[in-house]
Amino acid sequence: MREVILDLQDIKKSFGKNEILKGLNLKVHEGEFLTFLGASGCGKTTTLRIIAGLEMPDSGQVILNGVDVTKKEPNERDVNTVFQNYALFPHMSVEDNIAYGLKLKKVAKNEIKKRVKEVLSLVQLEGYEKRRTTELSGGQKQRVAIARAVVNNPKILLLDEPLGALDAKLRHQMQLELKKLQKSLGITFLYITHDQEEAINMSDRIVVMKEGQFEQIGTPDEIYNEPKTSYVAAFVGDSNILTGTVKECAEDKVVMEFAGGTVMAQAKGKSYKEGEQVVFSIRRENIKLEDHKDMPIKAVVKEKSFAGGMLRIVFLVSDNIEIVASRQGINYNLVPGEETEISFASEHVVILNQEM
């Protein structure tokens, strides 16, 4: 196992009467690309600011590379931040912005020149040294902000929605570049995003945050395929969150009663009592519409719509429960009002932890 470079221990933070962070615990490993994913206002930025030293936690410790830095000033911490709004110094050239940290460290002049040149070519902005930062495009500003941070060779780079302001195409390109950059530099990245696709594409691990708490920490695969709570299931990808009643729990299989039919799921080592209500999720794309191998459930087509390259079909099963399925392409000859059958394959049914 790689070394733990950052250890957050029971971090709590309130603004006035509002408790914003409610006891965060997290170990980050060296060279890891870790993403915070969560709704607006859940405390992602506050968490990063506490790591950077721009905000003091009310209680708890920040251990950076084995040293307790909780009470240290931002300039005494070996981390650098790429701010949400870039925060480039408007009265300085690109070169002076990037050299700012090195000058403070009293690095020799020609060494600074060399490193600025290197890092500019790393972010593909060769020859932009003398430009004013106010004369750059959004994407270029963003590169300068990254260059200004990585040139200091920090232990951890904190990135607060660095691609948020870019259009979709540029964002996708920058995602790839950032990932490549992180791999080649070997610096630990702590990355904030709203965008689940971005999180899944780039991260080694994802932290799903909800109202000041870590809801689930895991690899993109775990978060996507084995969400622990209905919040994670709903937030990452589009899932149907449904409730069933346990009929039988034997060996590794749970059989549930749902909408007049039965649904099977994997127990994953847990046991469930007969008659127990359980919440489970199934992704839209995993709902089977034909060639049923599992017991099918009667359903009526309620709606059919096409958006974002996906066909969305809403079914109504008994008890007026809605189930949404999605498919690539538009050639599904189901018409609204039609009676049909759908089924859930047991490997795609995920039983969620009950919410408190």
């Binding site: 950077a52 030293g53 931002p74 300039n75 650098n80 925060a87 700012y100 403070l104 200004r148």
Partner: protein
């Protein structure tokens, strides 16, 4: 295209009264003053139409050169104090919560509700022999006898600072208020101490406000003869006092005009220097 043109036209129409006002009340008087400064003084009152450079020659007499230098010195000293006191004031005011900002703003504005002259008389009561200040100091046994502060250089400087401070505070405040404080956080994040971040970021970002504050302090203080007259007695003679004296007692309109023209040139030079330094024509706090 046509829409835009029409819109422009109506804007120009709206500007006509403003231009007219400026031309009648600002440009004409200035031109008239410049014209006057090249004419000769009449025997009793008024001017005679004899073009001459004598008025400007007179300014180069040691007495008047000294007056200019004294004025510049007093303005520089007052401005220096106003910067030292007003900058931190404006800076910290920008960091207050919305509620406190409004309260501070009200406090700064309150003195403007009464006339400036009245407020200076207030200072006379404070400074005069056995006045408020003497009584407090003597009451606290800090001094034994009256300090005779009124009609001293110090009293004039205090009066100047008092009269000009709000302009500095407001102009620093308005640029500190607009400042993006995440820039300071970015600097700290990149390794700057609080002091270093202040020097390299905050001071640079608030420089337009500071410089326009300096102009708003320095320029008027050259001409604030009533402060020097009221609080300094007749010990301190400023350019403004001379102009006023030449207009009234001396009845020398052309010479007063010439001095005004020189004062105006000095001021213009200062403002163009400001534009050069900040690279912008706009003045913080003046808009």
């Amino acid at each position: 295209m046509t829409m835009k043109k029409r819109k422009n036209k109506s804007i120009y129409l709206m500007l006509v009264p403003i231009y007219a006002f400026t031309i009648i009340f600002v440009l004409f008087p200035i031109l008239y003053m410049i014209l006057l400064s090249f004419l000769s003084k009449a025997e009793v009152w008024g001017v005679v139409k004899e073009v001459t450079l004598d008025n400007y020659k007179k300014i180069t007499e040691p007495l008047y050169i000294k007056t200019f230098l004294d004025s510049i010195k007093l303005a520089a000293i007052s401005t220096g104090f106003v910067v030292l006191l007003g900058y931190p004031f404006g800076y910290f005011m920008a960091k207050l919560s919305k509620k406190w900002k409004r309260r501070m703003m009200e406090l700064i504005m309150v003195p403007f509700w009464t006339s400036g002259l009245m407020r200076l008389y207030g200072w006379i009561i404070v400074f005069r022999s056995n006045g408020t200040l003497d009584q407090i100091l003597m009451g606290l046994h800090i001094t034994k006898s009256p300090l005779k502060l009124l009609y001293s250089y110090e009293a004039v400087v205090v009066g100047m600072i008092y009269a000009l401070m709000p302009f500095m505070v407001l102009s620093v405040y308005s640029s500190a208020e607009k400042m993006d404080w995440t820039l300071v956080e970015a600097a700290r994040d990149l390794g700057a101490t609080k002091f270093k971040a202040f020097i390299t970021i905050t001071l640079k970002q608030t420089m337009p406000g500071l410089l326009s504050g300096v102009i708003l302090t320095f320029v008027p203080s050259m001409g604030m003869f009533f402060v020097a007259d009221l609080l300094g007695g007749n010990k301190i003679v400023l350019v403004g006092s001379v102009i006023q004296e030449q207009l009234t007692k001396g009845r020398n309109l052309p010479f007063a005009a010439a001095m005004s023209v020189v004062l105006m040139l000095l001021t213009t030079m200062l403002i163009s220097l400001y534009k050069r330094v900040t690279g912008s024509g706009e003045m913080e706090g003046l808009v």
